[in-house]
């Protein structure tokens, strides 16, 4: 059951070679045994998982099963799950049991998938190392002294360590692609609007997008088929038909035009990562793709723009956590102001507090034009860069991160250097485009991620391009020792 693709698991379930109960039990046991080393789960929903597996087995027995019926999945603890603690990695929501299911959770449940539990994450999805969690940092399975990346570090580590075959994540500035790269697995952040945000606790609404981690592009395609689609409860959801992503996985890459953004290959890029990308380019050339240098001149502006827009939206999105209706409330508040101040100071961690303050400042009277409006203008320029680029290329390729995983604690005192680890991923969120990270090698025992960026709603093409590479290479089949 270990290292089997989702397609293989699905066939085995349909053929009754294994039961969902066995499969679920298998992963629950791995979690129990191995997760103490990683801390990738905040909540393991053992009983619910076994109940869901039983239901799935009944459906399989009746021949009423779909392709994902009985397949286990781990959910990032940012998605609201009915009757289950949904903490968002924060003390603020440590006592919060969601009264409803997020739309994507509903979709997975209806498809018969089995939720194993809720994965660890940077508090409110703010962070690039998963060290900002109220529940402690997550360790990278490739070396437990290193970070798994963030903010979806728990999901990435869980999939890399084969504690779950697939897991959800969210990506506001790289929170799927960066941990996928650092943990040596495949991750996809679809186009903004492709995945419903209803029930996904908001960090920065105009940038947040749900997505997936798995071992391969093919696995991602199987599960994305269920996760993607229009939701009338989300006004920013795109009412565009979802293709079957598995149909085009094996399309030929002959004549495919791949763009290499000059700005992604500066001196700041780790040498080994640069070399790994060059090697990957050769693989694609062999498959018939052509490479073209492109310019994304505003890339360097995307980090400052992002760190205005995202905190601005977060300062407003997180205002609802006030200790009045749910979540953490301080002991014996003196008055209303005391209730707000202490509940919020006690409930939020340092990074969240920092971003709320930055965002509040950026939106303040007298600063709004200089910060928020300016950042929105940059955002348009960044999007224009991509629009121009996609006139001459079909897909953009480059590194996911400038360097591999760093040591726990290495960057916690230096937020700017932490923010810079998202330099290649953030622009994609500002432009609302789909992006993926797939494994492309190793440096000093740590995985290297390669990023693929597509035009809006070109997820099928991205998965096709990633799958073609994975048929030629075996980086995605490597597993960390001990897991």
């Amino acid at each position: 059951m270990l290292n089997k693709s989702i397609a293989e698991l699905s066939h085995s379930l349909q053929a009754k070679k294994i039961s969902s109960h066995e499969l679920t039990q298998f992963f629950l046991e791995r979690i129990k045994k191995l997760d103490p080393q990683l801390n990738s789960f905040i909540t393991v929903t053992e009983q619910q998982a076994l109940d869901a597996a039983k239901k799935a087995d009944a459906q399989l027995a009746q021949g009423k099963a779909g392709p994902l019926t009985g397949i286990p999945i781990a959910q990032k603890d940012i998605f609201c799950t009915l009757g289950v603690k949904t903490s968002c990695g924060s003390k603020m929501l440590d006592n919060f049991i969601s009264p409803y299911d997020a739309t994507v959770i509903k979709r997975f449940n209806e498809a018969g998938m089995v939720m194993l539990g809720k994965t660890n994450m940077d508090e409110f999805a703010m962070g690039s190392s998963n060290e900002n969690s109220y529940y402690g940092s997550v360790k990278n399975p490739w070396n437990v002294e290193y970070v798994p990346g963030g903010s979806s570090g728990g999901s990435a580590a869980a999939v890399a360590a084969s504690l779950a075959p697939v897991a959800t994540g969210t990506d506001t500035g790289g929170s799927i692609r960066q941990p996928a790269a650092l943990c040596g697995i495949s991750g996809i952040k679809p186009t903004y609007g492709r995945i419903s945000r209803y029930g996904m606790i908001a960090f920065a609404s105009s940038l947040d997008q749900g997505g997936l981690f798995a071992k391969s592009a093919e696995d991602l395609a199987w599960v994305l088929n269920t996760m993607a689609g229009f939701d009338e409860n989300d006004s920013t959801s795109a009412n565009i038909a979802v293709p079957d992503y598995t149909n085009t996985l094996n399309d030929s890459l002959k004549g495919l035009r791949i763009g290499l953004p000059k700005e992604f290959f500066s001196d700041a890029l780790d040498k080994d990562i640069g070399n790994a990308i060059q090697t990957a380019i050769k693989v694609y050339e062999k498959l018939g793709a052509t490479f073209h240098e492109i310019n994304l001149p505003n890339t360097s502006l995307s980090i400052p723009a992002y760190y205005v827009i995202a905190p601005a939206e977060c300062s407003s999105n997180l205002a609802r956590f006030d200790g009045v209706r749910y979540g953490h409330r301080c002991e014996d508040p003196k008055d209303l102001e005391d209730l707000y101040k202490r509940s919020r100071s006690e409930g939020f961690g340092k990074e969240v507090t920092r971003r709320i303050m930055i965002g509040t400042y950026a939106l303040s009277a007298g600063y709004y034009d200089a910060y928020y409006i300016k950042a929105q203008k940059i955002r348009r320029l960044v999007a224009d860069d991509f629009r121009k680029a996609f006139k001459s290329v079909d897909v953009i390729l480059g590194p996911t991160t400038p360097s591999p995983a760093f040591k726990l604690g290495e960057k916690t005192s230096d937020p700017i250097s932490m923010y810079l680890s998202d330099i290649y991923t953030i622009a994609v969120n500002l432009a609302g485009l789909p992006g993926m990270s797939i494994p492309a090698g190793f440096t000093k025992g740590l995985p290297i991620g390669m990023q693929l960026i597509g035009n809006a709603f070109a997820e099928a093409r991205l998965l096709n391009v990633a799958h073609a590479y994975q048929k030629e290479t075996d980086w995605h089949t490597k597993t960390p020792e001990g897991f």
Binding site: P99, E232, S235, A319, V324, L363, Y372
Partner: protein, 480 residues
Amino acid sequence: MEWEIVIGLEVHAQLSTQSKIFSGASTAFGAEPNTQACAIDLGFPGVLPVLNAEVVNMAIKLGLGINAEIAKRSVFARKNYFYPDLPKGYQISQFELPVVGKGYLDILLDDGTTKRIGITRAHLEEDAGKSLHEDFNGMSGIDLNRAGTPLLEIVSEPDMRSAKEAIAYLKTLHSLVRYLGICDGNMQEGSFRCDANVSLRRKGDSKFGTRTELKNINSFRFVERAIMYEVERQMAILEDGGKINQETRLYDSAKNETRPMRSKEEANDYRYFPDPDLLPLLITEEQIAKVRSELPELPQQKHQRFKEVYGLSAYDATVLVSSRAMADYFETAVAASGNQAKLTANWVTGELSAALNKSDMEITSSPVSAEELGKLVLRIADNTISGKIAKTIFESLWNKEGDVDHIIEKQGLKQVTDSSAIEALIEKILAANPQQVADYRSGKDKLFGFFVGQAMKESGGKLNPKQLNDLLKEKLTSGS
């Protein structure tokens, strides 16, 4: 010193939709606390707003009703502030780009002239919940039933120069939103709320003085009182050479005073920015044309028609069109009265309105139907009864004693118009009062009223008054 009063009004009209502006929860008034608030209204983690399409049509209706430009593209913005009855920590409103732009309303002044009051804008927003400050074990309670109720905030220009003008504007707007069917106008329940911006300046000055904003004014009467109080207060300060603080003041109707809530310095920085959860609101020409084609006749058009078609005075027309129900009642009654427009108007605005007021009833639940009132007017016009007798019959109609003709028949109230019968009665009276006849004939003209009174008394008030007058004069004169 002569001071000029400058008033601008901000009206919050609660739109009469079935469900809330961004969620499917009900908007019905008066339910148990927190029973009409769903996860979206409660601002739970992860929830998202979806705009109720009906509020857009209602905003378009208002825009057309105030002759305003309707924005093809408007934007929802977040107004950020902390308050326990504001679940998300921000209110979804519109800021830079409202759905309705500049428009105006013409109001009728006491002297019969009209004045045009500019409307700056109208925008859509959600209402907050309510804080209940009675003691819940030392804490305040929060009722979020009202949270997310759709509001249209209608902001006027500072064009009003007296409390009377402010009331006239408010009543005109109140009538308009009810005609349009977009707001029930119930001020007690808070469906139609008003804040007033009041300032004073020296007569002749072109610059406005510092203004205060008066809140919590929940009836027409209080609008006038609050403004009057505030004008007096500001005038006293200015006359003493003092300065007005720009501040928000609360009107206390029990004490009839305004007192400060918060000053400009303490004012919130609302940190408005476009709500990333909602797309810009796009309205097409076709959508506007469709709403326009479905608009009812509006008060101003009706006012014009009532004057032209029925020949009514501006005053009568204003009173009759003040509510759609009263205008409809009037038109039904006129049709039944054989087109006695003026007389019908008198009865609707006079006897009927007084009776309704006295019993605190709406015209829609009047015990006297429009058809019956029209019939009553018809019977006055065709001389079946006199105006005086009609009042008695009206009372019987009010008490549901039957229809007009039935009551006339049963109570024998039919007017006597037979000249010979009237003459016979006059002869009888003159014969019984020889002294008075002699006095009259020797010049005591005032005694004419005495004979009329005697005749009416004798006949039970049923004689046609004009015939009685003519014949009586004839008899008294001819006999001399």
